[in-house]
Assembly symmetry: C2
Homo-oligomer: 487 residues x 2
Amino acid sequence: MDDLLPGMLHLVRDGGEPLTRQLTDHLRELIAAGRLVPGQRLPSSRHLAKLLEVSRNTVSFAIEQLAAEGYLTLSAGRRPSVAEGLSLEGAKLPSRTARAAPDAPRLSSWARGLARTQWPLAHEKRPRPFQPGLADEREFPHDLWSRCLRRASRNALSRRERTINHTPLQEALLRHLSEHRGVKAKPDQILIVPTAQAGLTLIAGSMLERGDHAWIESPGYGGAHVALRTAGAVVSAIPLDAQGMTIAARREAPKLIFVTPSHQYPTGRLMPIGRRLELLRYAEMSGACIIEDDYDGEFHYEARPVAALQGLTPSPRIFYLGTFSKSTYADIRIGYVIVPEAHIETFELAQRYMGMLTSIAMQDALAEFIGSGAYLGHIKRMTRLYKGRRDRLLQALAAEAGGHLTVEAPAGGMQLLARCRAAVNDQHLAIRLLEAGVISRPLSSLLYHRSGEQGLFLGFAAWNEKEIDRGAEILGRILRQEKSRCD
Amino acid sequence: MDDLLPGMLHLVRDGGEPLTRQLTDHLRELIAAGRLVPGQRLPSSRHLAKLLEVSRNTVSFAIEQLAAEGYLTLSAGRRPSVAEGLSLEGAKLPSRTARAAPDAPRLSSWARGLARTQWPLAHEKRPRPFQPGLADEREFPHDLWSRCLRRASRNALSRRERTINHTPLQEALLRHLSEHRGVKAKPDQILIVPTAQAGLTLIAGSMLERGDHAWIESPGYGGAHVALRTAGAVVSAIPLDAQGMTIAARREAPKLIFVTPSHQYPTGRLMPIGRRLELLRYAEMSGACIIEDDYDGEFHYEARPVAALQGLTPSPRIFYLGTFSKSTYADIRIGYVIVPEAHIETFELAQRYMGMLTSIAMQDALAEFIGSGAYLGHIKRMTRLYKGRRDRLLQALAAEAGGHLTVEAPAGGMQLLARCRAAVNDQHLAIRLLEAGVISRPLSSLLYHRSGEQGLFLGFAAWNEKEIDRGAEILGRILRQEKSRCD
C-alpha cells in the first residue's frame, strides 16, 4: 500500500492549484470512492512526503484537514487511518450517472399551485411598448441617484444604530407623503420592505387567519390576489361600478379589503369621496381592515393628486401600501407600508421573522434623494412627461383603432384600459400583438369574477412618442386583421 | 351663503402654500365637517374669485379638483353644489377626539404569537462586545464597495433584461462557492433574496404542508425555528452530540431538516463526513429535504474551510443557504439560496409571490465586488483577523473567567460558546452583563429541548483586542460577583 498510494495521487506542479489543496482533495476523493477502505493506514506523513516529493508540511496539513472533516482518524504515535463507519457501500447515495431523473421531493400544495395561476403574467425579458406598470427608467436621474447611493454606502460607519427601518427615510418619506398624498402618520409607522409585494405578504400574514374572507377588486391586481390566498384567505372578487369597488354586505364579512382608490388598477378610475366614506363605514361596521394600495398615486394629470384614503380619518384599520418602483424606476423595487400605530412593534417583529428587511445604505440614499428635493422634482417632471404620453397614446389609438376600442382616459397613472367594442378573445389578441412586438395585458386576465369583458391594458409611461406611435400602428393593424378574419 | 362662505375661508398670502391648494383643502374640510351641506350651492367661480380676491383660475382649479374627488357636483350652466349622498352624519367615523383608544383590529394568531417568542433576542441599538453574529464593519472596504455600487447604479440603462436573479452575480458567486465551499450547481440554481431569513421563509413555504414535521438542531438557530413554524410545521428539536445533529428514526419522518454542518450554530462544531453521510442517507431514505445553512462557512481557522454538504452528492433534496451579511458586513443583508435544479422555476415564482426580490443594481455591484477578487481578499484578511480575535478571546476568558467557564474553541466562525461550570442562571447572567455594557446570548435561550445546560454565546469577530480584553474583564468581574453572592 505504501507504494501504491503515490501512484494513485496525481499532483500537478504547474503552479496552479496549491499542492496542499490538491493532496487534500485527492485523498478525500480516494476515501469517498472507497479506493482507500475504512481502517486502512496511510504512510506516515514523513514517508508520504518523501514518496510524493512534497514538503512534510503539505502532507501534515492535508492529513489534519481530513481528520477534521472526519475522513481520517489520528491517534498519537500511530499512522493515520481511514475512518471507520463511513460505510459508503451502504450509502446508496445518488450519483450523477446512477440516476438520470432523481426523485424530486414533493413541493407544498401552495408551491404546486404557483404554476397554475396567471400572475405574474409572463413577459419578455426586455420591456417593450405597451408593457404596463413601467416607469421610464431612461428619464430617471441615475447619476444623481448613484451619487446618493455612494455617499450613503461610504457613510456606513457613521450609522451605528441597528434599526431595521431607517429613521431619516421614515421622516423624509412621511414629509413627502403627508404633503403630497395627504397621509397622516408618525414616522415609525412606516416600514421599509424589499418590494410592495413583500409588504402585502407581511400584512396578509399578520392579519389573516386561514379561512378568513378577503375582498379584491375585479378587474384588479393579481399580486393582491396571490398574497391574500397565500395567507390562506378565501378571496372574493368584488365587481366595480363607475366609482370603483361596490360595497354590499355579503354573507361573510371580510377581514381584509384590498383597494386602489387613487387610480383603480386596471381601470384607472378615481374612487370619489362618497364611496370612500362608504368603504370606511363598512370596514368600521364589519371589523374589516383596508389595504390601500397607492402604487402610482403620485401621477395625476387633471388636478392635484387625490389625497389618500389613509388620511381621511385616523383609523386603526387602514394599511397604506406604496412603492418606489413607479415613482423612480422599476429596479429600485423598495416598497413601504404604513401600519396602524398600535401594530408597529408586531409588524417590525413580523418583518424580522419573514426576513423582509432592506439595506440601510439603500434606505439612507433614498432619504437623501427625497430630502434634497430630487424625488419631488423627478415626480413633477415625469407627471408632465407621462401626461403628454397618455394624450399621445389616446390620440394614436383613436387614429389607428378607434373603431375597435373604447378607451377610458385615466386621470393619472401609467397605463390605460382599452375595451374591445366587438366580441374578440383578448388573450388571443395579446398573443398576436406579442408576436408583432407589442406587449399588452388582456383585460380578461385581470378579471376575478365571471364577466365577458374583453380589452387590453396598455402602459404608456415608459415609451416615447415614436415608440407609442409605432406600437399603436401595430395594434391597429392586428385589430383590422382580426376583424377581417372574423367577417 | 354667498357672503358667508368667504368668511369661512382663511387664505394666507405669505407665499407659502399655493392659494389653489389652500382653497381646495379648506373647501374640502368645510364639506367634510358638514359646514357646507349636501345640495348646497357654491357661488359661481367668477363671483367666488371676486369675493376672495383670487384669480378665477385658482377657483376653477379647486372646484374641478373637488368635483373629481366627489365632493362637488357640476352640471352645465349651474353653480357647483355640494354632493349628495356623502351623509357624513351617519358615518360614525372615528375622530381623533371621539376615541381615545380605537379598537385595534385583531392580529392573526401567528402575529399574536410573535411577541411571545425569544427570537430575535432583543439587543441594544448600538452593537457592543460580545454581540454574536456580527462581522467587523469597520474593517470592510466601504469605499471600494461604494464605488461598485455607484458604477452598477450608473450602468442601470445598459441592463435591459428583466430577470429577478442577476446572471452575472449568479455566475460570480457560483465560481466563488464552487472553488471555496465545494458547492456544485448551475448558475441559475442560485436565487438572490433580501436576507437569509427570507430564503428560509421561501424554502419553508414552498416545501412544507401545514402539519408536516421538521427538525432543527438544539441548541440551534432561532430564525430557522420561527421560519419553519410560520410555514405550519411541527418542529422537533434534535439534541447534538460531539458530531452535531444526532440522526435517529423518530415516529414521524421529517419533511425538512435544518442543519449548520460547517460550524454548528451555536456550538461551532464541525459535522464530520461520517455524520454527513448518515444525514444524507437518512434524508434519502425518509424522503426529507435538507436546508444546509452555511452562514459563516467562509471563516475557518485550523485548515481550509470544510466543503459544503451540498457538494458531496448531486441531490434533489439539498437547499444551500448563504448570506453576505457575515462575509461582508451586516447591513448589506442580501442572502442566497441554491435550490435543486428541478425546482428553479417554481422557486422564482415563489420569490415573486412573496416579493423577495432585490435591486439588480445591488446584485450587479456584488457581481463586480466578487469578480474583481475584492470579496475573496476581504474574506482572507478577515479570516486572519478573526482567528487572532478568537485566540485573544480564548486567552482573555481563560485569564478572567477560567474557573467559571468551559470554552469550546471553535474551528471557525465568528463566535464561541462558553459553558458555565457551576449551575447558574445564564439568562440572569446575560442581563447583569448587559447592564455592565457587555452583550451575550444565554445558551438556554438557544435550546429547544429540555436541558439544564447553561452558558454564554459570545461573538469575537467584530471587536478589536482592546474591546475583547475589556469585555472579558467585565465578564470575569460579574461572574466572580455572582459566585460570591451564591456562596
